[in-house]
Symmetry: C2
Subunit: 126 residues, 2 copies
């Protein structure tokens, strides 16, 4: 049992381990900061307070972002997608979102860059 | 076997069913459009062409976004996060991203809105 509103719980489509991915976005700049996971209880805590709580798959425990690092995420908006299987959490991020110290978890590893489209395009692909 | 660069494949951390979530973002406005799933082959196809390909969990098949709907996603940038378990795909989206006809898959269902932070905040929570 969790404190999640049953009307919301009924709309969720969870993975086999009972989780829903949560995309975290900086509310004003639009930066995608990270992706975390929530079970019903983590979502209830996030909706019912001003801080974001995830379920940590690696540590198997609840994780209120910033409690250890100080890099808190203040909830501005929470949305559910059309299939009920993904959350979009818009926040005000204090400091870096990534444990590496980078602003976002996507800063370091570019697999394919802007402007590479022409080079990668195969003849006749369009 | 897929065509995915082994150096990239080695950096991926996949779910139990061999997938990685891919956050899709409009490259210029920053809108989060949707979340899809990729296996190694879908990622290889996305990196090697100008269109985004997902693995459809419901249909258990590859799905090049827009082939049916015409709402194609043109790849601008692909990034991998710090843990190697999430992709960020920046695209130029043709038309609506959502099968409902909405611009994004997050347009319809606001669980908690902007400005609700004060109302939801419990006394002493800060």
């Amino acid at each position: 049992m969790t404190d999640l509103d049953p009307a919301i719980a009924a709309r969720l489509t969870r993975t086999a381990d009972g989780l829903v991915p949560a995309v975290v976005q900086q509310h004003d700049t639009g930066e995608v900061l990270m992706l975390g996971w929530m079970d019903d209880e983590a979502l209830a805590r996030t909706l019912g307070s001003d801080r974001v709580t995830f379920w940590s798959r690696s540590r198997q425990e609840y994780w209120r972002k910033g409690d250890t690092s100080g890099h808190r995420q203040w909830v501005r908006e929470v949305r559910l997608d059309c299939d009920g299987d993904t959350l979009l959490v818009r926040v005000d991020q204090e400091g870096p979102a990534c444990h590496t110290g980078a602003r976002t978890c996507f800063d370091a590893d570019v697999l394919r860059g802007e402007g590479a489209a022409d080079a990668a395009e195969e003849p006749g692909a369009r």
